[in-house]
């Protein structure tokens, strides 16, 4: 598992690679919570290269979403693989956390929401 972040104006793009499971969910949590800090008002977590996520990893996404919200930020997801999209559907989290087809779509649509970006 690898987490990379880059800032673009008021957006932060977090790319997650590999698998998140029992063996590395603590590391994933630490990395996500560190990366949502900062001045960016929109956080896009791109999961194009995330191939496996269990309920603990899902819990980390929920925690990062809730923490972002407390800080007045919007955290969204993009490019979910089918197995991971299914997790968000059955746990109903997809009704709460916005999911975009791709990071490009997320950037385009969210940029329109905030003219200051």
């Amino acid at each position: 598992m690898l987490v990379e972040a880059l800032t673009q104006g008021k957006m932060k793009l977090i790319n997650v690679f590999g698998e998140v499971g029992f063996e590395n969910h603590s590391e994933f949590k630490e990395s996500m919570l560190r990366n949502i800090q900062g001045d960016e008002s929109i956080i896009i977590v791109d999961m194009k290269n995330l191939t496996y996520l269990n309920s603990m990893g899902l819990g980390v996404i929920v925690k990062a979403y809730s923490e972002s919200k407390k800080q007045g930020k919007e955290l969204v997801l993009s490019s979910l693989q089918d197995n991971i999209k299914k997790l968000f559907t059955i746990t109903k989290l997809g009704r709460i956390i916005s999911i975009y087809k791709s990071k490009e779509e997320a950037i385009e649509l969210l940029s329109k929401q905030d003219v200051n970006i």
Binding site: G21, F22, E23, T51, Y52, N54, S55, M56, L58, G59, V62, K63, Y65, S66, D82, N83, K86, L87, I90, T91, K92, L93, R95, I96
Partner: protein, 146 residues
């Protein structure tokens, strides 16, 4: 491994591991080997691994109350299903899990508590048995032919 099927159920493999990271790694390796033989569909294969992962983690987190103990995993094959039994000898599981279908928490943004609900939605059949003072056995069924 001989996968020739009889009408009877056969035990493909049994592994007994400790409820820790080494045990988890060993269990996952065996699960991958068996899943590779059974599932052609990549998504179904991932769902099978996820279900076992979730149940095994429950054993680590809850069965032995912070101590280590053994977890016995058996992989069975019959005409219809690949069946995986995951059994610990810990404290047992609350009856709400053995008497009711696992449910989502009312708080959709709870950080934890989704594991068995996910398993129940991804496998074809789930049985949870709690034996007083003799731990918990979770049996997960996956239809063959995927």
């Amino acid at each position: 491994m001989n996968l020739k099927l009889s009408k009877e159920e056969i035990v493909l493999q049994e592994v007994i591991v400790e409820s820790n990271l080494d045990g988890f790694t060993s269990m996952k390796q065996t699960s991958r080997q068996i899943g590779n033989l059974i599932f052609k569909d990549e998504e179904k294969f991932k769902e099978y691994l996820l279900c076992i992962d979730e149940v095994f983690y429950n054993c680590i987190a809850h069965a032995y109350e912070g101590e280590y103990g053994n977890i016995d995993i058996k992989y069975y094959l019959n005409e219809e299903y690949l069946k995986v039994s995951i059994k610990d000898s810990g404290v047992g599981i609350p009856t709400k899990y053995t008497e009711e279908t696992p449910k989502l928490s009312d708080d959709l943004l709870a950080e934890s508590g989704r594991g068995l609900f996910i398993v129940n939605n991804m496998c074809d059949k789930l049985i949870i048995k709690s034996n007083e003072n003799d731990g918990t056995e979770v049996i997960i069924y996956f239809k063959k032919g995927w």
